[in-house]
Symmetry: D2
Subunit: 337 residues, 4 copies
């Protein structure tokens, strides 16, 4: 069986995660090409991952006929353009979230996906592939908690990484676009409905640099969904204990809570601070398995002609909701979506 | 040392809790009188608690000169009127929450308290006397979590008690006045600031009787506070697992979470359902110690001329916020407080 | 209804707990007399608890005809003698554990109980009255875990109290008599069978003063029971995180574990040490409710002529097992009981 | 860089786990040969894993010069003989536990390892490679809990798999050899000392077939170690909630507990049974990552000429302790090791 030949674009922190997974952990895929505007990243691909074909120009990489699929992990503003170009070049596409940085871009990506029904497209909402989330979704779909009617989602980056967030505060699009996309997707996924209204607010108590840049350190949003269900999102950047993603799905017959303690592992220390559980320190640590599982799914979908679990419309909708949330936060008004 | 002579008004479910505590668990207090419009409740006071003086008229009880203090556990609409009458009759007053059912009433109670500086008044926000909440507050005040800037409060009544809630749905004032008062007080208490804006919404997925009565089964609200902090409240009435009160105080240097698992006790069962912790079934069970502790505090404040930890203004403010939340929920608008 | 008039003997740390409970928290009991060889303790009884009748001689207190019952919280060596004297003087008796410091003593106490069937006797195995243990026992008796066949019991005193333990190391009878009596009682209670064989060992890694005194800092024992069930006990004195009592009952259809985290309350701190739960610091803190509940039971049994849940034979048997465990530990041999 | 060419012997349940890991998850290894006496297993290797060279005779596989290393997952009685043959044939060897089924066998394996210092040998104590255990070991080695002096280890197979255990009860060597080897290794590893004495007992309350076969359903053992430390082991086969491996390392300055709740994932269900966490169902599920990590370590040690973390002597010692435990259990005597 021929292995899927993949070219990757973008080899930053998350790009490296995907590249290593493709290169060495997915048996029926091969990393054959890498594209980056950062020479060190291409050097990394060559020496660490044995990738022979490296490119500084995405369109050049697309000309390589040996490549079956591309994995896009570039900056968000490039996603839609590259998705379109790759599909038009006949490549299957896996793209990191967000789909695009505005809805118009997303619509162009949608059009590209629609005019290439012969190609697979998948968006990197990897949380759906985390075993705890997948298990929760299965229970919800089986009716274990009756009808889900409220999702409470929390996503907080570690204080240890806050300087990076401060550096990008002016260009990140604001805390909701930067951080809440995954939580928005989870609300839609679990509630099986679309958000129709949002109200949001933010605060900055620790690092005034966020405020100075027009951003906030912490954001809170509430959503009404078309079916009457509700969502509550809390995103932040200053958790002193690590990387904290927690989600709760409240239903008529029960509630499922995922990761109330963002435990690093199963060891607990009974010491002078009481009984303590150390926490995961970053998203690559928390979602290492999920990043691998989603890429396996993508490869599997291409090889066996199956439909990926996350489609292009999931990307457009999350982006649209992210923008509406941002508008609510900036204007202080309730925004209809 | 003479014991504090207390008369109680109202001997329903919660009234009985207070009456028993005063009668048999507080060494320096004595339950000497009881007032109720329900004959069975007076019979209970006589036979079960040995109370000799019983009244069906509150003003009659106030004429009893042997009574030093009254404990008001009547229906909410009576609270302010009875507080005023009792203070004017020279009695110290403990009143159950809410202070009143509108802000004008509360203002009259405030005035009564102010014109009787020689008398103690305390409002029954018992959660502040629960050992877990008291411990959390102490940690917050000691700066253990830096500056608190977000309170996330959850309060869900058990499904097992839902028929009672349905019965009172038309007259309860709606889910936020009925259920969120304690959570509102906790936000104010932990954040040490006042709410200035609220947005709220509700949903009914299980018992349409709530909707029919103009109420909702579940409510969600978000608040801006004067100091820039934020609050998120989720109240409901249909928890299948028991009575669930959970609160999270998020600060710049850490977070304190109280009762993520509303455990009944410290036993855990490892069985065919996995590893399970049974939950408390009701507010009297969850807050049994807190109801006692707050009454001990009240008695102690009267006897030793100390200031109770909850004052009349806490009552007015929580009521005002409760009304604003209700307005936000009913109108779908953001309400300035 | 006349209140039960109680005289207490011994007002050390635990004696004060009992004295306060009787004096102010049990409505149908009254603390009317106190006996101690320590003048300060009698002073405490007078000024803090309003006890008028104080004695330095136990037999003098027994002559007081107003006393219905005595509560014995003296040093262990006095228990049996005082139990016998009190019963012979016509008083109901509550005695702290252990029943006696050797089996012969216990047998004399048994004989005294047997010749006074008109009087109540109860031994202070208060863990049975802790709500978590009582709940576990109820589940076991209901068959929730099938047939219980293994009890794993842990009891560790806090390092903060170790100096006291070192001071009494020479006279305490050794770690198993000093600390394992409650755990032994729990094994018997949950397994509903008697131990027939024991093997034990100990170690001292932190405070060699224990070894110097012929004692050990930590002890481990395993038991065979008459019905084929087994017990494992781990006792220690150096927990840096607080007072740790944990028990596990393993049955054919499930396991119940009590207090795997000896939590101080329901608050959890998410901070730089991870997610931490502070622990209870001492046995009076952990078992405050249980000490009250067992005394309520005793008073209730006397007043309503009921049989207490812990009898004199429970005391003899636990003592016998404690001695056998001590012999196993000292000789390095398996001991038949 | 040339990949390590591995041949596997034995493709039962655990053999398949190793085979798949080598074939598709370890980038610098390749599964090039498979040996089994079960035709279906060879068929699996061919069709599922693309292994071309299959053998029914282990010595034939050793003649294949393309094979650098062998992975032995055959029945325990074959381990030592195959280890010796493979080393003498110039192959690096990874062997599943136990090293051998008696100490004499183990000594021959030791001799073979010693006469081939140019070859790597590693034993499959995979728990050491589980991230929770590795983290605990790191904390212990860093002195986080002071001096470790007691290990409490629990290993219980799920009731769902009990029929298989019953089938092999007569030939398994008894519960301690069959189940406690990993726990024995953990005690030695964490305490950094050797067991010198053991006492053990067992019971059978659910499936009398174990008793009939001279085995027991549940076993309990306690150990003295050369440095004065102690071990307690509880092994069983009838956990209704899943596969339960829990370990506690008690030290002078703290305790580390691993997997008190053998959670399946991070989702928790709040439903009518209370707050429940589902458990892992089997050892391949619990230790999936550890099986991969140990094989990566083996491959890495061969390629980069490093010393594996588990050596042949770990195997002999665990086996010796396992036999002594079995003797203690069968004779009812304390056994010096």
């Amino acid at each position: 069986m021929k292995k899927l030949q993949i070219g990757i674009a973008g080899l930053g922190r998350l790009g490296k995660v995907h590249a290593k997974n493709i290169a060495s952990k997915i048996s029926n895929a091969e990393l054959v090409a890498a594209c980056s505007i950062v020479p060190e990243e291409l050097e990394f691909a060559k020496t660490e991952l044995g990738v022979n074909n490296t490119y500084s120009d995405f369109s050049e990489m697309l000309k390589n006929d040996d490549i079956d699929a591309v994995c896009i992990v570039t900056t968000s503003t490039e996603h839609c353009r590259q998705i379109e170009a790759a599909l038009d070049a006949g490549k299957h596409v896996f793209s990191e979230k967000p789909l695009g940085t505005d809805v118009a871009q997303c619509k162009r990506a949608e059009a590209a996906v629609e005019r290439h029904p012969e190609l697979k497209f998948m968006l990197g909402f990897m949380r759906r592939y985390d075993k705890s989330y997948a298990y929760a979704k299965k229970l919800v779909d089986e009716g274990k908690i009756g009808t889900p009617y409220l999702v409470k989602a929390t996503g907080i980056d570690p204080e240890s990484a806050v300087q990076g967030a401060i550096r990008f505060a002016k260009t990140s699009g604001g805390i909701f676009l930067d951080m809440a996309i995954h939580d928005i997707d989870l609300c839609r996924w679990f509630l099986n409905s679309e958000a129709i209204e949002v109200y949001a607010m933010g605060s900055t108590f620790k690092h005034k640099e966020f405020k100075d840049a027009g951003d906030d350190e912490t954001g809170v949003a509430v959503y009404k969904f078309a079916n009457g269900a509700m969502g509550m999102i809390h995103v932040g950047r200053t958790a002193p204990y690590g990387y904290h993603v927690e989600t709760e799905v409240v239903g008529t017959e029960g509630t499922i809570r995922i990761s109330a303690v963002p435990e690093k592992n199963l060891a607990t220390v009974y010491g002078t601070n009481g009984v303590c559980t150390e926490c995961v320190g970053s998203f690559p640590e928390r979602f290492a398995e999920a990043y691998l599982a989603e890429m396996e799914e993508f490869v599997d979908c291409v090889i066996h002609d199956k439909k990926p679990g996350v489609n292009v419309y999931d990307g457009t909708k999350s982006t649209a909701i992210g923008y509406a949330t941002t508008e609510a936060w900036k204007t202080g008004k309730i925004i209809r979506i």
